[in-house]
């Protein structure tokens, strides 16, 4: 069963003098996130990731389109009881202590006093804030606030967790703990949708991703499929003559001189066959051939930089 269904979600904001123009920040986004997935929403600044999450949380309203969470419209109170949300760069009531904030939110979830007490202690241990639990939030560092943000997002043992930049502000140890926490959530059956700029984390965690750019979905799919598509074959040659170099330029994705040698990047097996034929004809030497699996970061940079990148 899909846990999140986004259908043509579009958001325009008033812009320009006297708000006479509109700026489209999200353009007909359609996505489905299934139960138990860890889904990554990635994209550069201004791509529409946070806008998507704000729309799903009912903080802003769509210009067009609709979204459903757990088969109910966004904003339904019974749905809100089943989800958790970590906003980007969270900011909480700084006059409260960490324990008081979690207790307040626990009250809003309708948790009993004893259930709140147990869950709060469990979460403070989980995010390493036991000692800071009675400190007012105005004295928390950015990393501590982020960890408390995650604690409040999973306070109600949500069926779906929406995490906007969960690794932001965390040191390497904090990032590792966060990765473990997200994996634990997934193991416990929680569906996770998270936005991140830190692509190695997305690559390590997500089963599927969608890439957004300038409000539009550029790519969506299983990480394995996306990265398999972007396999590059790297060939290193020696004794490359001028005419051979010209011929290679017509086949290769990229050519690079490395002293006496030349590195040739190819997109597929067909191109490799062509290069091998040219090498034989021109008396050049083959030094090495290997395939390079691109990282999500490589793929992301290439897709986002591609002019006129459109929905696929």
């Amino acid at each position: 069963m899909p846990h999140v269904e986004i259908d043509g979600l579009t958001k325009d904001y008033a812009a320009g003098s006297f708000a006479l123009k509109t700026k489209r920040v999200l353009d007909h986004l359609t996505l489905t996130i299934d139960e138990g997935e860890i889904f990554g929403l990635i994209g550069p600044n201004g791509a529409g990731k946070t806008t998507t999450l704000k729309l799903l949380m009912g903080l802003i309203f769509p210009t067009e389109g609709s979204a459903k969470i757990l088969d109910k419209p966004v904003g339904d109170l019974s749905v809100k009881a089943e989800i958790g949300f970590l906003p980007e760069q969270p900011y909480f009531y700084d006059y409260l202590t960490g324990r008081e904030l979690l207790d307040y939110f626990g009250q809003l979830f309708g948790m009993s006093r004893e259930a709140r007490r147990q869950r709060i202690e469990e979460l403070l241990r989980r995010v390493d804030l036991v000692e800071a639990g009675d400190v007012q939030l105005r004295k928390y560092s950015k990393g501590m606030t982020q960890r408390l943000g995650v604690a409040q997002a999973i306070l109600n043992r949500p069926r779906i967790a929406f995490l906007d930049e969960p690794m932001s502000g965390l040191d390497p140890m904090g990032r590792r703990d966060m990765t473990t926490l997200i994996r634990d959530l997934h193991r416990d059956g929680c569906t996770v949708l998270f936005c991140s700029h830190i692509l190695p984390d997305v690559e390590a965690l997500c089963s599927r991703v969608a890439i957004l750019n300038q409000g539009k979905k550029v790519k969506e799919g299983k990480l394995a499929d996306i990265l398999d598509l972007s396999l590059t074959i790297e060939v290193v040659l020696a004794n490359v003559s001028g005419p051979l170099e010209q011929s290679l330029a017509g086949i290769a994705k990229n050519l690079q001189r490395l002293g006496e040698r030349m590195k040739v990047e190819l997109e597929d097996q067909g191109a490799l066959q062509g290069v091998l034929g040219l090498v034989q004809q021109n008396g050049a030497s083959l030094v090495s051939v290997h395939s390079v699996k691109q990282t999500l970061e490589d793929y992301f940079v290439r897709e986002v930089a591609r002019p006129g990148a459109e929905q696929s």
Binding site: F61, F85, Q107, L108, G149
Partner: protein
């Protein structure tokens, strides 16, 4: 307890942890205390001076607290983005508005009680009197504060804190002179202006309904029917303001 009550209690906690509130209450108590000094230079009018200044201090400082905290109730939540983590919880925007409102009303009730206790203590120390009739004036002052809070909350759902303060302050002044607006036709020779002022008269809160300070100080009777009428008027006016605030906030994009 309902979610509105939890939000109200947290709003109360927010306000009582704000140092500005303590400064205002302390200043009000000093003002009430200073009425004792002024009474010493008013021959045969000592008690009246204490009563006048005491009630005026409760009304003025209560209004300052209502407006200054009321205008920040919603706008501060949006400016600091605390609303982003609150509203995804199982609460509606209407719960949020009502919780914020009742939270500040609770703060005002506690503060008015403290100021009233200081006022009665001073009266008792000075002249060994305890006049329950003064409570009628304080009861209506509290309702006036509740209306001001609702006005400040309404404005803060669609405009900045500063503009909310200006608008609430403006309506506070107009509300105290609204009876003059009703009889504007007797002082101008125009057919349009009196019609306009009649409309304004019915729109702005008639805060004169809540001002019986001079009557209780001078010993005039304030019938319970007047208290009942003013309470009904206040409750209805507040209900309309809160409905408007909820409608506006329910449509607002929280960017």
């Amino acid at each position: 307890m309902s979610r509105i009550a939890y939000i109200a209690l947290n709003t109360y906690r927010e306000t009582v942890r704000d140092k500005v509130l303590y400064n205002l209450v302390l200043f009000a108590l000093i003002m009430i205390g200073s009425s004792y000094i002024l009474s010493q230079i008013s021959i045969y009018q000592e008690v009246k001076i204490i009563k006048d200044l005491g009630l005026a201090s409760i009304a003025v400082f209560g209004s300052v607290i209502a407006v200054f905290i009321g205008i920040g109730l919603v706008s501060k939540e949006m400016d600091k983005r605390t609303v982003y983590s609150l509203l995804p919880k199982p609460v509606s925007r209407t719960h949020f508005i009502l919780g914020k409102y009742f939270g500040l009303c609770l703060t005002l009730a506690v503060n008015v009680t403290i100021m009233t206790a200081g006022f009665y203590a001073l009266l008792f120390v000075h002249s060994r009197i305890f006049e329950p009739s003064l409570l009628k004036a304080i009861y209506l002052i509290y309702f006036e504060l509740a209306i001001l809070t609702a006005l400040a909350l309404l404005f803060s759902t669609f405009t900045s804190a500063i503009l909310s303060g200006v608008l609430t302050g403006f309506l506070y002044v107009v509300g105290h002179f609204s009876t003059d607006l009703k009889h504007f036709d007797t002082v101008v020779d125009s057919s349009f202006l009196p019609q306009l002022t009649q409309v304004i008269y019915y729109l702005v809160p008639n805060l004169r309904n809540f001002d019986v300070k001079s009557r209780v100080v001078s010993g005039d009777a304030v019938p319970f029917s007047l208290l009942g009428y003013s309470t009904a008027y206040g409750v209805l006016y507040i209900a309309i303001l809160l409905v408007l605030a909820a409608v506006i906030f329910n449509r607002r994009n929280l960017k």
